[in-house]
């Protein structure tokens, strides 16, 4: 009896001890500005989560080594607390809560993917914590009236609109027949909305409109239909896994379409993984290294590409580039606010107008970046070596779009 009573007391005190761990951290410790980020290190977004983390880290190192952030005449360094959100929205929301409440983080960086950003945004908004995110493109993020959310990237509905316009243009201005398949997630569904808009605008017809499950690794049913009805454009979006699956099965089933438009070709290292099989795929991208934007930390895209490759052993996909840009934005805002007050930093963020190696950044009223267009590149192969070459918009085009894609029998 007494034993039991005592053991319960012990249990409760152990509880108390465990819970009192690590509460007393502050947003700015000494000369360090602490940022919080939950990124996907495990689960279905782990590849892109890694890109995001590497992008953040590269920028932190660069900014710190180049004099840090100057606030009130003093120089501060960035530091990021990372948690693994397991590619799960519920977990991401809990971790955001934890970063803010227990780790005392006052400034947040975004996670990877629109879904996870959507889960975290209500928490940061509630606690009035400014969040600069680089990987949540879903339009619905920017229509909720969030005041503390800032995205350095273009909204998802703009991803493949250009591709449809391009297809119509190549069709002599006449409407095209579109087949599309999108993963069931916030981001891809928004890309779909963009395509629907473009189809409506150009009078094009959607003849296949399929939904793909999450964690997708088979889309043979859609492709069989595509083979039967022969559309002018096939649009596929489903993060990295979707891009890889699409190319694998299109080449296996020898599906001939004049134009194949996708997302996440560079994040999935499509050209490297599938080589010539992925040739002619048209991809929406937030960024490409050949674009001519500049800043003083990373120089330009080509230099960023080199530095990133040196640090992490692979060429940076746009997910990494935009993540690095997020830190440049934070640095700029801190210096303009000249304060650590979250409200002041938030106001400074809202007034951001700058150029980074990644592109121009200026936030619209919903927090989306309104100053940067999307680009399209096409996978092109020369003697077995495949590369992503920008083909649209014309301002940055390094090569002419190859259209239509030659049939498999001639490849």
């Amino acid at each position: 009896m007494k034993n039991l009573y005592r053991s319960i007391l012990t249990f409760i005190s152990v509880l108390a001890l465990v819970f009192s761990f690590g509460t007393a951290n502050a947003k700015v410790e000494g000369d360090t500005i602490v940022l919080g980020a939950a990124v996907s290190l495990t689960g279905k977004y782990s590849t892109n989560g890694e890109h995001t983390k590497n992008g953040y880290n590269l920028a932190v190192d660069r900014i710190n080594s180049m004099g840090g952030v100057k606030v009130g005449g003093k120089s501060y360094k960035f530091k990021i607390i990372y948690y693994d959100d397991e590619s799960n929205s519920k977990r991401a929301a809990q971790l955001a809560e934890r970063l803010i409440k227990q780790d005392g983080v006052k400034y947040m960086l975004g996670p990877y993917s629109s879904g996870l950003t959507k889960a975290i945004a209500p928490v940061t908004e509630e606690n009035k914590i400014p969040m600069v995110e680089a990987n949540g493109a879903s339009r619905s993020l920017f229509t909720k009236g969030y005041k503390y959310l800032f995205a350095v990237l273009s909204p998802a509905n703009q991803y493949l609109e250009v591709a449809i316009d391009l297809a119509v243009e190549k069709n002599g201005g006449k409407p095209v027949r579109i087949a599309q398949a999108f993963e069931q997630d916030a981001f891809s569904q928004d890309v779909r909305l963009g395509v629907l808009d473009a189809a409506k605008r150009t009078g094009s017809k959607i003849i296949i409109d399929d939904k793909l499950p999450k964690e997708l690794n088979d889309m043979a049913a859609t492709l069989a239909k595509v083979k039967a009805v022969k559309p002018d454009v096939l649009v596929v979006s489903g993060h990295s896994k979707g891009a890889l699956t699409a190319i694998r099965q299109i080449s296996e089933m020898k599906v001939d379409v004049p134009m194949l438009a996708m997302t996440h070709c560079d994040a999935s290292k499509l050209a490297k993984q599938h080589g010539a099989k992925s040739e002619f795929a048209l991809c929406a991208s937030q960024w490409h290294k050949t674009l001519t934007y500049k800043d003083k930390f990373f120089g330009d895209g080509i230099k960023y590409d080199k530095d990133f490759t040196k640090a992490y052993g692979y060429a940076p996909p746009y997910q990494a580039a935009e993540s690095s840009a997020a830190l440049l934005v934070f640095k700029d805002a801190f210096e303009r606010a000249n304060s650590f007050d979250t409200k002041k930093v938030r106001d400074a963020l809202a007034k951001t107008k700058m150029q980074t190696f990644y592109g121009n950044i200026k936030f619209g009223s919903g927090g989306q970046n309104t100053a940067k267009p999307m680009v399209l590149f096409q996978v092109m192969c020369k003697s077995g070596k495949c590369e992503n070459v920008v083909v649209a918009p014309t301002k940055w085009a390094a090569a002419e779009l190859i259209h239509p894609i030659p049939p498999w029998s001639k490849r």
């Binding site: 509880l15 108390a16 948690y83 693994d84 519920k90 959507k118 889960a119 916030a186 569904q189 909305l193």
Partner: protein
């Protein structure tokens, strides 16, 4: 047997006191604690099937998800057009007034409590005839299928997910929302505990145990087992649905596969927690869920990227060293705590036989 023994009274009193003051002492841990309460509820209700009745259900997560969607949808739909709220890329922003928020939440929770048991009754009638692995696999399928189905319904946001109404602004301070939700969870936990504790003192539990031990024999003795199985599942569904409604409100963002019908995590966790604590007992799920949650929140972040490996190790340790759960382990080591008297002379006598 409904009356508390003195010892039970001490334990329950101490725990309740702790839970009542916890949100004010550990201010920053409120929502994590609230999650712990939810996990305890899920483990306790799973125990009705998995522990008492011997039916390993992986489908209880369905009630959780249905409750979550119902609660949020009702709360929104009562005042605003739901389709416009969830429309992907919808340009409109609706704001709930405080009294709309609370009335909506009350109605939402009422639906989250009432509908899942009905579903449990209907489905249960169809599948509770399956036994053993067949039942487990079937419910697993139901859990996964419901997530995919929800991901196809545009009205509730499909794969885009939907946001639950945010807590009204300007109501109390930053802590108010956390405190409000914490106490809702606590109320639900106390209700669940009281009900299940009462349930376990009735003949109902004996019937469930009879089904677990030998269903054919139970039937031969004239017990209409189907009725009891369905009733048991409906009880679980009732509390799971309510828990789901609360979690939806707490998380704020409802996504079909990861938040609502999260069989991969919550669905497995509720089984794991119950087994960790000791299934087929009243306190086992409670101890298991608390220990699991504390382990997870304290050490999870130390293994950045490796946490599931750590979880795997934990499962192996449980299976090898505590096959009967923590309660079973305690019972074996300290039988006197459970009011079991061991006749030392008799025990020694047995040992000296050889």
């Amino acid at each position: 047997m409904l009356a508390f023994t003195k010892r039970e009274l001490y334990i329950c009193g101490a725990l309740l006191l702790f839970l009542l003051v916890a949100p004010f002492v550990f201010v920053n841990f409120k929502l994590q604690l609230a999650f712990m309460l939810i996990l305890i509820i899920l483990a306790m209700t799973w125990n009705i099937q998995g522990g008492e009745m011997g039916y390993n259900s992986f489908g209880n997560i369905m009630f959780f998800g249905v409750g979550m969607y119902l609660c949020a949808s009702m709360q929104i739909g009562l005042y605003f057009p739901l389709a416009e709220w969830t429309e992907s890329g919808g340009e409109k922003t609706f704001v709930h007034e405080p009294d709309q928020y609370f009335k909506g939440l009350a109605l939402g929770l009422a639906f989250a409590a009432m509908i899942p048991p009905i579903i449990a009754g209907l489905i249960g009638y169809g599948i509770l005839g399956l036994r053993g692995h067949y039942f487990a696999i079937c419910t697993l399928g139901i859990g996964i299928a419901s997530g995919e189905l929800a991901g196809g319904i545009e009205l509730i946001g499909a794969g885009q997910g939907m946001t639950a109404p945010p807590f009204p602004k300007g109501l109390g301070d930053l802590e108010t929302r956390g405190e409000f939700l914490y106490f809702l969870c606590l109320i639900l936990l106390v209700a669940t505990f009281t009900f299940i504790r009462w349930l376990y003192t009735t003949r109902f539990r004996l019937v469930l145990n009879a089904i677990r031990d030998n269903e054919d024999k139970a039937e031969a003795m004239g017990i209409e087992t189907m009725r009891y199985k369905i009733t048991g599942w409906m009880i679980s569904a009732f509390f799971c649905g309510l828990a789901g409604g609360l979690v939806g409100t707490m998380v704020g963002y409802i996504e079909p596969v990861e938040v609502a019908f999260d069989g991969r995590e919550m669905g497995v966790f509720m089984v794991l927690m119950t087994i960790l604590g000791g299934k087929g007992t009243l306190w086992g799920p409670i101890i298991g869920a608390s220990a699991f949650h504390i382990f997870k929140e304290s050490f999870w972040t130390l293994f950045l990227g490796w946490q599931y490996v750590a979880l795997g190790v934990l499962i192996i340790v449980i299976v090898i060293y505590f096959p009967e759960g923590l309660m079973g382990y305690l019972r074996e080591k300290k039988p006197e705590w459970f009011g079991e008297v061991i006749d030392e002379k008799d025990r020694k006598a047995q040992i000296s036989l050889d």
